[in-house]
């Protein structure tokens, strides 16, 4: 299968749903990827199982503040040049690229990179959603080291990283992004085909395209969207999909702590006898509670959509008075392993509760 121009709009839409409120608006990444595919042609997409064990793969994407990229626009060859800089740094050719985060704009950047560099993109990513920190990536959880890594800024300045831990890599890469105008592209987490197979969340790229298509073709009330979504999710690595609430945002307060947008949104039911739903935010929607009862929690996906159109709403754009519906979706099994829950369970985000899988609530 090839990723063509016509797939990118659906991919972008699906990626906002999977971003669970984070990930940034994929509009500009979509435009630049469209230009890259127009100029360099469609991109071959390969299944992780079809990658040879000794192939050399890197994850690629943009790091920084999505707000900044609304002014400091990406360039058509930025992602491909990041790969070239990486190859020069390690002295080895890359066989394929993967996304580190399917949620938001970074679902598209690997396609722009693959198009410009003339190599395939792998069907899968390192999160199956959006998550705020590098150590939460499936690659990191499975033991893949983030470095050697290379970052490129808007002017083509190259910075190479060789760090001892994923946490230190995360700190350094964020600092560089701030110093380099707020947005950089990085090639990181180099791995063999064998490592890729045990660390990637498979199938999410083609799934996001299908998800976007479903949202587009059934555009309308969230209640009518539930059935097509359940059909789609039940036949995927995600499984369960529930419509957990519908109502109006009556309060939303966030503040920035350590670079993260932290806060809470309160949603009151249209018919006011139901208890309001409280959604906790740390860039992404992480926890949904009704009174003391947890309705859904990270690493399962919590998605807030516009009630009338079912268009997913980014946390930055969520505000008082909006009419919304809230979906909860089970996360891929990878994130329910003991190893993964060490870094993505609710406690890792400061919530004093145990993780209970969506299906058991």
């Amino acid at each position: 299968m090839k990723i063509e121009l016509k797939h990118l709009e659906d991919l972008a839409l699906g990626s906002v749903f999977l971003a669970t409120g984070g990930g940034g608006d994929p509009y500009v990444p979509r435009l630049i990827t469209e230009q890259a595919v127009k100029q360099f042609g469609p991109v071959e997409i390969i299944q992780p199982d079809d990658v040879s064990d000794d192939a050399y793969v890197v994850a690629i994407g943009a790091v920084g503040a999505p707000t900044v990229s609304l002014e400091l626009l990406p360039s058509i060859d930025e992602a491909a040049n990041t790969l070239r800089a990486f190859e020069q740094q390690v002295g080895r050719q890359i066989d394929a690229v993967a996304s580190f985060e399917i949620g938001g704009g970074n679902s598209l950047i690997p396609i722009a990179a693959a198009a410009g560099r003339g190599i395939p993109v792998i069907d899968g990513d390192g999160m199956g959603r959006a998550l705020p920190e590098a150590q939460m990536m499936s690659y990191a959880i499975a033991g893949v080291k983030p470095t050697p890594a290379v970052a490129l800024d808007y002017d083509g300045n190259i910075t190479a990283f060789s760090t001892k831990t994923t946490e230190v890599y995360e700190r350094h890469i964020r600092s560089l992004a701030i110093a380099a105008g707020g947005m950089i592209t990085t090639a990181e987490h180099p791995m063999s085909g064998l490592e890729l197979k045990r660390s990637i969340i498979p199938g999410t790229l083609s799934f996001s395209i299908k998800l976007g298509q479903t949202l587009r073709e059934n555009r309308g009330s969230a209640r009518d969207m539930l059935e097509p979504l359940q059909t789609l999710f039940s036949d995927s690595i995600y499984g369960e999909c529930r419509l957990i609430f519908a109502g109006k945002i009556t309060d939303k307060a966030t503040r920035i702590v350590g670079g993260y947008d932290i806060g809470e949104a309160v949603i009151e039911a249209f018919s006011s006898d139901e208890k309001p739903l409280k959604v906790s935010i740390k860039n992404e929607y992480l926890l949904a509670r009704q009174g003391d009862k947890v309705v859904a929690s990270v690493p399962d996906l919590i998605v807030i959509v516009d009630y009338e159109t079912s268009a997913p709403i980014n946390a930055e754009r969520l505000r008082y008075g909006q009419r919304v519906a809230v979906f909860a979706v089970g996360c891929p099994d990878f994130y329910r392993s003991e190893n993964a829950l060490k870094v993505v369970a609710p406690r890792c985000f400061g919530f004093d509760i145990d993780y209970v899988p969506l299906e058991q609530i």
Binding site: T67, E71, L72, L73, D155, A177, G182, Y307, G321, R323
Partner: protein, 526 residues
């Protein structure tokens, strides 16, 4: 005393206000030349009220002429769009995502130059004089005169835009230039789009403003003239010659502001029921609640803030199913007067149901005696349920709220609504837009991205407020009356903890002494 005029695509409405009191109002047809529509409306209200021209202190005009020109792709001038931001954005030229027919209508050329700034004030790249010179040569060749310039982070530092503009003006002295930073907000592509749409309307704006002033002069109205903007504030008529795009959303804004003035209700839901749709908006503290989604004008993404309006397919011409269980969104629209049953037509509409229910006497009642009583009661229940559930969704809280009904279709609402505490049907509701224009004040707005680490919060807000104040004064405000109505601080995620977007809005009264033609064109441009 003030005159408010609303020049729409179909109707030109006018009112005379003395304080809060409507002395006279009228609805006339908009004429092709705009002028005679206005003079006709003026004749009626001056005549009805018996007010002398000399007693009129100001005239306020609201208009959808410029929005319609963009939507209908007419009266659009040839333009050049200049982006300053390379090496960033290479491969993403201006107008990339515009509808092709609009691009064609503009006969556009685009240029990309090195330059601009980063969020923290660091230079993105130096301006390349040779590159600028090559661009000017190409402009001289194509003969383009209307030019939009946008540079990266120009709301923080507009020098690159100004620098390139002055070079262009040296070579093309009669060029008309729009600089994107005058449209404030962050978001380069959206701000640039606003500047391009503005630029392509500049010759038409000249024509329209001259028509407005000409019509008033014909009726011996020599007082200052203002035009209403998107946010319900005013700009002097001559300012519109440079910034026509600032009128894009003034229609719905004036309608909501007029509803506020007619009822005095600061917090209410406003339902404007027309022939095809009901537009539901919300008044918060007397001003429209703004939508926070990207607003498209004629298919182009812009950074304008527009009122949050929920449009549902329910109006006086909406088609009713045979059993009355469903209404709209299809409508016979303006053909109601021939296709509705009471007018001898063959389509069952909401107007027929209204007449059949005995709540109105329109058309020929004998044509609807065959409608079953269940159909009538079903259709009435359907109509009220549709409005109820949609009003409920627009309300900011769970409690019932007052609703103001305006528009010709307001008569369709015959029963109470559950989501509503009180239904208000103000007199003169048909000319709410003209009233909204007449009561507008002068405002100014500015937005900047700052770091509280380098600039203390208090200082930063003061700095942004000063820019907003200067904009308000430029637009014709009396500096002494200006007050800050809104300070919005949005933290910027993934950056250092003190990075924040500050937006400040100030509003004040009109300068009493300002002359309608006192503003100089070229001053407003660069």
């Amino acid at each position: 005393m003030r005159i408010g005029i609303d020049v729409g695509g179909t109707h030109t409405d006018a009112v005379i206000l003395q304080g809060d009191k409507v002395l006279a109002s009228t609805k006339a047809l908009t004429s092709a030349d705009v002028i005679s529509g206005i003079t006709n409306a003026l004749d009626v209200i001056l005549d009805d009220s018996g007010i002398a021209q000399s007693e009129i202190e100001t005239v306020m005009i609201g208009t959808t002429q410029f929005t319609n020109a963009i939507i209908e792709r007419r009266e659009l001038a040839q333009i050049a769009a200049v982006r300053i931001g390379l090496p960033s954005g290479n491969g993403l030229p201006p107008m990339l995502d515009w509808p092709q027919d609009l691009k064609d209508a503009l006969d556009s050329e685009t240029h990309m130059l090195h330059g601009g700034y980063l969020y923290d004030g660091w230079s993105l790249a130096d301006i390349d004089d040779a590159e600028v010179e090559r661009m000017i040569q190409s402009m001289l060749k194509s003969g383009v005169k209307n030019i939009a310039i946008a540079s990266a982070f120009s709301p923080i530092n507009a020098e690159p835009e100004k620098q390139v503009a002055s070079k262009i003006l040296e070579a093309i002295p009669n060029a008309k230039i729009t600089l994107s930073h005058s449209f404030g907000r962050l978001g380069l592509m959206e701000r640039e789009n606003a500047a391009i749409l503005n630029t392509t309307l500049l010759p038409f704006a000249d024509k329209v403003v001259s028509s407005f002033l000409g019509a008033l002069k014909k009726r011996q109205l020599h007082c200052p003239v203002y035009v209403s903007q998107n946010d319900g504030t005013l700009m002097s008529a001559d300012f519109v010659r440079s910034y026509p795009a600032l009128t894009f959303a003034s229609g719905p804004t004036n309608s909501l502001r007029g509803a506020y003035k007619l009822t005095g209700l600061k917090d209410a839901v406003v339902v404007d029921i027309g022939g095809t749709t009901s537009d539901i908006g919300v008044l918060q503290n007397g001003f429209p609640r703004e939508s926070n989604v990207i607003i498209k004008i004629g298919g182009v993404r812009t950074n304008f803030r527009m009122p949050d309006i929920l449009a549902i397919g329910l109006g006086g011409g909406s088609i009713v199913s045979a059993d009355g269980s469903s209404i709209g969104p299809q409508s016979v629209g303006h053909r109601l007067v021939t296709e509705g049953l009471v007018f001898g037509g063959e389509t069952l509409t909401t107007t027929d149901i209204l007449v059949a229910s005995g709540n109105a006497d329109i058309g020929d009642k004998s044509k609807i005696t065959h409608i079953a009583p269940e159909t009538i009661s079903n259709a009435q229940a359907t109509l009220h349920t549709m409005l109820d559930s949609n009003i409920d969704m627009m309300k900011p809280g769970g409690k019932p709220m007052p609703v103001i009904l305006v528009g010709g279709g307001a008569v369709l609402v015959t029963d109470g609504l559950q989501a509503v505490s009180n239904i208000h049907r103000p007199e003169h509701a048909g000319v709410a837009n003209a009233i909204g224009a007449a009561i507008a004040q002068i405002g100014g707005e500015a937005e900047q991205m700052v770091s509280y680490r380098t600039l203390p919060r208090k200082e930063a807000i003061k700095q942004v407020t000063q820019i907003a104040v200067q904009r308000a004064i430029d637009a014709g405000a009396d500096a002494k009356t200006l007050r800050t109505v809104d300070i919005e601080e949005t933290p910027v995620p993934y950056m250092d903890e003190s990075s924040t977007c500050i937006r400040v809005k100030v509003i004040g009264e009109l300068t009493a002494s300002i002359s309608a033609t006192a503003n100089n064109n070229s001053e407003a441009l660069v």
